[in-house]
């Protein structure tokens, strides 16, 4: 049953070194504030799962907190490559990074299978592709009815899934709107779920009957962190900070620049800085 906690406690009590953790959010609602808190708390040796690693994993990898990453597209969307992740893979800096690579279709369906309590997902995928040659986690089965060969991947079942959402109500139920990504599936597939939200509202009365809502009893911990998805966005609250994504190309290109940026903006940052960052965007846009 969801408890309301401050972010420091929500992270501190629910994560351990070596955990398999999924931070999900597909462009919309990426949980940056929670990732930065994990970096500040010194958690390490993580196995990260995420379809689109994005800046959030570039930062964790560049800080040496990641042992392994399961992913399907490691880019800065619309901008280019993830340079800290490349440095880890190509040069082992600051530590080598083990990769477990899939396609989007495979990962989406593996999360779905995890949420559905199944040990694997079967799908029509990877035909003719080389990934099954380098990822032993991809197997094939034969449909017992049609005889067709279908791909199979093990379901994804993280120790911990962290998501950012628009709203929680006072009971601790959580509402997600807009691009839903794989958040519901990643949450239901995990043993433990931590959610950061923009705000708490009295109730969800008036919300659409088929809206995406995670009941309080599927969640361990909720923290109110306005702006907590910056520089990604929160549909209905603030827009994607595309300038920050473009700027990351420069910051992440150089190890020293990266480290000093992280020092200033993450390690020495106030956990409540996200609201201010969004406020600053709001003022500069006015």
């Amino acid at each position: 049953m969801a408890r309301f906690q401050d972010l420091k406690d929500a992270i501190g009590e629910n994560i351990e070194d070596g955990f398999t953790v999924a931070f999900e959010g597909f462009t919309n609602l990426i949980p940056y504030a929670a990732a930065h808190e994990i970096i500040r708390q010194g958690v390490t040796d993580l196995h990260l799962i995420r379809m689109t690693p994005d800046l959030i994993y570039d930062q964790l990898i560049g800080m040496g907190r990641v042992r392994k990453m399961t992913f399907s597209y490691a880019g800065n969307p619309g901008v280019g490559l993830l340079r800290r992740m490349r440095d880890a893979v190509e040069n082992g800096w600051p530590r080598p990074l083990e990769l477990e690579e899939h396609s989007h279709s495979a990962m989406a369906q593996a999360y779905e299978a995890g949420a559905a309590g199944l040990p694997c997902a079967i799908f029509r995928g990877y035909k003719g592709a080389d990934l099954p040659k380098v990822n032993p986690g991809i197997k094939f089965i034969t449909c017992p009815f049609s005889g067709e060969t279908l791909a199979a991947v093990p379901s994804l079942t993280p120790n911990l899934t962290i998501i950012h959402a628009q709203k929680a109500n006072r009971k601790g139920d959580v509402l997600v709107e807009g691009i839903l990504g794989v958040q519901k599936e990643a949450a239901l597939a995990a043993k433990c779920v931590v959610v950061t939200v923009e705000e708490i509202v009295d109730s969800f009365s008036g919300v659409h009957p088929n809206a995406c809502i995670l009941p309080a009893w599927t969640i361990q911990s909720i923290s109110v962190v306005p702006g907590g998805a910056h520089p990604s966005y929160a549909h209905g609250y603030y827009d994607r900070d595309n300038a920050a994504y473009l700027e990351w190309e420069r910051i992440s290109s150089d190890r020293a620049v990266f480290l000093s940026w992280m020092e200033e903006n993450v390690l020495n940052a106030d956990p409540n800085c996200f609201d201010l960052r969004v406020e600053r965007m709001r003022r500069s846009a006015a």
Binding site: F26, T27, N28, M51, F71, S72, Y73, A74, G75, P77, G78, L81, L82, M85, R86, V89, E90, E101, S103, H104, S105, A108, Q109, Y111, E112, F123, R124, G125, Y126, K127, G128, A129, D130, L131, V134, T149, G178, I179, L180, G181, V182, K184, E185, C212, Y233, H235, G236, Y237, Y238, D239, R240, D241, N242, A243, Y245, L246, M281, S284, A285, A286
Partner: protein, 268 residues
Amino acid sequence: MAFTSEEMMTIAAARALKNDDVVFVGIGAPSAACNLARMTHAPGLTLIYESGTIGTAPTVLPLSIGDGELTDTALTTVSVPEMFRYWLQGGRISVGFLGAAQIDRFGNINTTVIGDYHRPDVRLPGGGGAPEIATSCHQTFVMMKQSRRGLVEKVDFVTSFGHGDGGDARQNAGIATKGPTLLITDLAIWKPDSKSKEFIVSAIHPGVGAEQIQESCGWPVRYAENVATTEPPSQEELLVLRDLNARTKAARERPLAMKMARRASTAG
């Protein structure tokens, strides 16, 4: 009107789309081409982005695959598992767009690594949706600028299957869809030979010479029997495309101005 080779590429790709197509759009050049088509000859075109947005009609080009603009203008937004299961794997997409770091003459694509997979010279982003876009869409269109590093004799890694080693390779691999039917570059339009499935030049963009096409291609270029010259961009095509790009640039320079206004009206 004068035009750039990139504009020609985008416009040629836009023209290949029909009003009743359902397109799985990629970011970058495909997004520009698909929205241009929607704003010109194909107003009924259905755009689907892998973020789950179905039937989007953005006024500016999204930087990422899931910008808020896509949801705001979509008919509906579904979860990503549903997108890949019901919509892509379900066989409902008529055209999928793919980009490539490397492509070979049979349309096999690499966006994974340069060099050895386990000790790569360059680690690229990986496949994303591409491996299944390549096999689940009724057909795929590839857009890329030509270069010797891009159009190669053999790709280092088959991220997305095209026509394999040619001929009946797709059927033999148990794939029922057509695969790459069009390669649109900054220099030419390529189509697969009906038998060998090798990409051959079917039209050359205005002002481009054969030597330019060969210099920027890693395999010996072959030509269709009757090679056409691509119709140059019309004034309408150019104006609509440039307007779209200008709006997009302006929006990225002040990404929050208009959105914050919107927020104020809904959350006030």
